[in-house]
Symmetry: C2
Subunit: 341 residues, 2 copies
Amino acid sequence: MTTSFPMNAGDVPYSYSKNSHLQREVLDGAKEMMKEVIIEHLDIKNMLSSSNKFYIIDLGCSIGPNTFNSMQHVVQVVKDKYHDNILEFQVFFNDHVNNDFNTLFRSLPVDRSYYASGVPGSFHGRLFPSRSIHVAHCSSAIHWLSKTPKELLDEKSSSWNKGLINYIGASNIEVMNAYVAQFEKDMEMFFNARAEEIVPGGMMVLISPQLSEHLLKFFGSSLLDLVNEGKLDESLVNSFNVPVYFPSIEDMTKVVEKNDCFSIERVELTHPKSKLVDEADAKTLMINLRAVLEGLFINHFGSKIAKEAFTRTILKSDEVSAWMKINYKKACQLFIALKRK
Amino acid sequence: MTTSFPMNAGDVPYSYSKNSHLQREVLDGAKEMMKEVIIEHLDIKNMLSSSNKFYIIDLGCSIGPNTFNSMQHVVQVVKDKYHDNILEFQVFFNDHVNNDFNTLFRSLPVDRSYYASGVPGSFHGRLFPSRSIHVAHCSSAIHWLSKTPKELLDEKSSSWNKGLINYIGASNIEVMNAYVAQFEKDMEMFFNARAEEIVPGGMMVLISPQLSEHLLKFFGSSLLDLVNEGKLDESLVNSFNVPVYFPSIEDMTKVVEKNDCFSIERVELTHPKSKLVDEADAKTLMINLRAVLEGLFINHFGSKIAKEAFTRTILKSDEVSAWMKINYKKACQLFIALKRK
């Protein structure tokens, strides 16, 4: 029942591996915080007892290079903290089964200091045996909902989201409510699964960018332009909503507390020191989003309309750039560090 | 320094997934023996202590469906033996990094009773942290050498294997010796790695078919036909040897004893009750081998010559069939069950 649309595969011009700078900025901004929470809150002596095996997952890893960068960082921080300990690390790279694991595996760094493994499947369900993971990491991924709430596409529903492709800009509060309800359902499954899989004392760090949601509206407006020019049927736009919801601190706190298996060790919204955002390089950002969204658009609109919509949106760089300068403060990211009780 | 040539990818007509009946027959023949050795020799109560996580690897798994079949069998046998125990299984599917893991993952059985994971890398090296695996399984894979011994291709060497593509049929004993030496080197690395990875009391089962080696000579003779017709340069045949060595019981016993970390619980040569061999369906067998060998042939000879050699060999089905009826007793397989001391 869940849908999934992987990032663009391979390493061709519009592939995710060549266009994940934005996600990289998010990670770089979180690295120092990641280091601090591991140093302050991770207690491996209790967690591992007599074993020296340390298991890490990256949930929603896509195809690199970002995932390699952040996994090596986690390994290094844990090694530095326990310099007297002979730990052996196994990293599990997780993403949907239609993720391009071949590209992921073939680009694994040769100088990595961990054993590598791929785990296909939705992180909204179980992926591992009970109590088998010590650190879970998830960056730029929890905002992907398991599906689009169907009432958004139903003209008879009070949540019908006519003419828009996301909750951003929707004046009807029922639209936002439908997104939030789906997010809460998904997170309930997510936390139930992780609560089983992560050992007591184990940690989970979730990082979520808050910029992309606002940029989505530019893709939506390109689709509406095509409708106005008679090139696209409006009903096709009305039957399409991008299944992403970017949670606030309050949203995250609520789902963590409802699950009740994790303590919140740190939560904050930060402004990444992003060169991309500083320079308001709108074109780079939009190409970046194309790598993320293209599969979803092609699946619904076909490749001709999808290509047209992306080309037009990238031509709006000046407009996007102007919007970004004013809304710079929205370019924040959510960082939350949790510990299994 | 190691070379690897994956089975043909995808599920197209000459793919491995559509042409692995022979390997399937090997596995079916071994299933009963696998069951017996687990029931007689595996003691999970000591091995797992307080944990209920059971980790299994399939080494050189290729892309299914055989690997799913044998992994489910191992899980089921262990479950049946410890019916009062709530075990959770994680299966690691291992093969070279250029194996088609995307196809493997997308064809995972939905009703599997284990958590699935892919591990890219050569099984001649380390793949897992120390003491993290309970059962290792390896079928139709250990006969692949990490590389072709280069003296076989060197006309100045006493091991030069002129006009042949394997040790089968070679009158020069030095050729066989070079193959055996490489096999022993590879197995030394293989057993050193597994001795670290497998927990004390953990088991490893190796299954190796003994028929394919004899069929290789038919592919070699097709190449020589092309040389005699002036369509292929003889030096190209002389610079090509298929890096497979099919060990005898004595070969296996020697490498296991040299490593000294495993006890031999059972070893035997058996004749699989193979319908394929019974009916002497030579054509099916040759198509089967094509799926296994095509990557290797194309890499050396180019796709035109490789295709021509395969087409010609499959046309020799009558000759192959006649040979098989006489040599039926050679269609045996080696089964060896080991326990980590």
